[in-house]
Amino acid sequence: MESWKIGLLFSVTGVTSIIERSQLNGALLAIDQINAKGGVLGRPLEPVRYDPASVVKRYGELAEKLIVEDKISVIFGCYMSSSRKEVLPVVERRNALFFYPTLYEGFEYSPNVIYGGACPNQNSVPLANFLMNTYGKRVFFVGSDYIYPRESNRVMRNVLRQGGGEVTGEVYFDLEAEAADFSGVVDEIMKVKPDAIFSTVVGQACIEFYKAYHLAGGDGRKCPIASLTTNEGEIDAIGPEASAGHITAAPYFRSVHSPANRRFLKAYEEKFGSTVDVTSCCEATYSQVHMFALALEETGEIDTECLREALLGASFDAPQGQIKIDPDNNHTYLQSRIAKVDNNGEFVIEAKVRRAIKPDPYLVFPAIHDWSFRTLKVAGGGR
């Protein structure tokens, strides 16, 4: 029996492998679940995966290889924006369908891409509000030096200003930055004494930064590091002591209480032995594979045009709650939650936006007082 072949482009080595490995697992779990139920229209899904080793150029080359040599026209992959930009021209030229299960900085639309992660309007505004209301208005920015942190900081700076906040510093680091590289900025933070730190440091460097902050006496319970990208995977690597009190805004946390999430986590644990590396990007990948399979069930063939038609407007009962692909822009309506790390290194959800937020990838200046971004306090730590 012939299988449906799909391509997976996630790095399992290199600087962004922690997070991409969790995305790969999410995809593999969804594929297992679909195949256990008899596949799609009686045929199993067969993943073909390559490891780009966190090297930006490799993503484009391997996407080309998947399409040309393996004759695959559906690909899931990428974490960093720079790697997506490598894949984009390839999938457009070959008219393949590309699923990108990661939050990013917005200002993009391609008919060949389905975007499964949050854009800035879906998480930056709720986070900025929460920080200013809970900790104060002086925020220090630390980021990795590439497009996402810079654009993300532009949005955050704007939202903070509207709320009367102040950016007390802004520093960028190489993706390969090591522990020693952060000592200067940590000293400066200790001197400036901001109310909170907004971090867009990603990958291995993120872990080093949190550790360096803790080592210098930084306390997340007093002045937290707030992030959109620091997930359960990084927190696990940082350790509970250095990560207590820090804040992350994301559509999904492992601690969400819902039947769909309990089923998801149980299946994940059965397959991989533990759920420590389940993250919002993992959940997004898992949901995107399921949504693809449902669309394929409808079309009966892997044809970019037909699949796109079936996917646009489709909704799915994801572990985070109901999500839906916006037919206007191929991005996804997502939940928005804010969580704090407790003393055991687990995220406890503090606030959430009541309804899934419509993606608005071309929003230049999100308005801080928009009612749709208002968060509600969450009792009991997870909803």
Partner: protein, 199 residues
């Protein structure tokens, strides 16, 4: 000058293009970007004033008609020409109608935002320069007039340039007029008086 990026969502855009795949791609992208927009085809006679930016398909169009269409709005909108061919006669046409930026057919989503912003920016700059130029011309004109008047006074009264200027300024203050107006009157009077001498 206002910031074209900041004001993006306040724009009213008009798409003048036959209803085909390019037009659909373009309108969907303008919608994603978050601007108000309308569609018209064929090229109408007049352009309603509310539009700040016009996308216009120039394929097989006559430059005269396009110019009178674009010129019919009192607001002078930003113009993005949509072209199907890149040959010299088409490029000539887009220069002639004064397009501020260009999109190539088939229109794709990527590039629309940049072309809109380039058009806005370019056109705002142009307006700005035009305004500055008019102002400078006027100023130059005024300086010339005051100079002429000064020389007339110097000649008639045998005074220095400084004294002549002070005289003009005092007159302007007393009559609550500008120095240019006084200078103009002096020039007029001089020409009448010298004409009388001739006859």
């Amino acid at each position: 000058m206002s910031d074209p990026i900041q004001d993006l969502r306040d724009l009213h855009a008009l798409v003048v293009h036959p209803r085909d795949r390019s037009a659909d791609e373009l309108m969907q992208q303008v919608n994603r970007i978050g601007c108000n927009f309308d569609h018209m085809w064929p090229v109408p006679k007049t352009l309603p004033e509310k539009f700040d930016l016009v996308f216009v398909d120039v394929t097989d169009q006559n430059a005269q008609r396009l110019k009178s269409f674009i010129g019919s709005s009192p607001k002078s909108p930003s113009v993005v020409a949509i072209i199907g061919y890149e040959n010299p006669s088409v490029l000539d046409l887009i220069f002639e109608i004064g397009a501020h930026s260009v999109l190539m057919k088939p229109v794709r989503a990527a590039g629309v935002l940049s072309s809109m912003l380039m058009a806005r920016r370019f056109q705002q700059e142009q307006l700005h320069f035009e305004k500055d130029l008019t102002k400078l011309r006027e100023k130059l004109d005024n300086v010339q007039k005051v100079n002429d008047a000064k020389f007339i006074l110097m000649r008639h009264r045998g005074i220095t340039e400084r004294q002549a200027y002070d005289l003009i300024r005092k007159q302007a203050m007393a009559k609550r007029a500008t120095t240019t107006e006084i200078a103009q009157s002096i020039i007029n009077a001089e020409s009448i008086l010298s004409n009388m001498g001739d006859t």
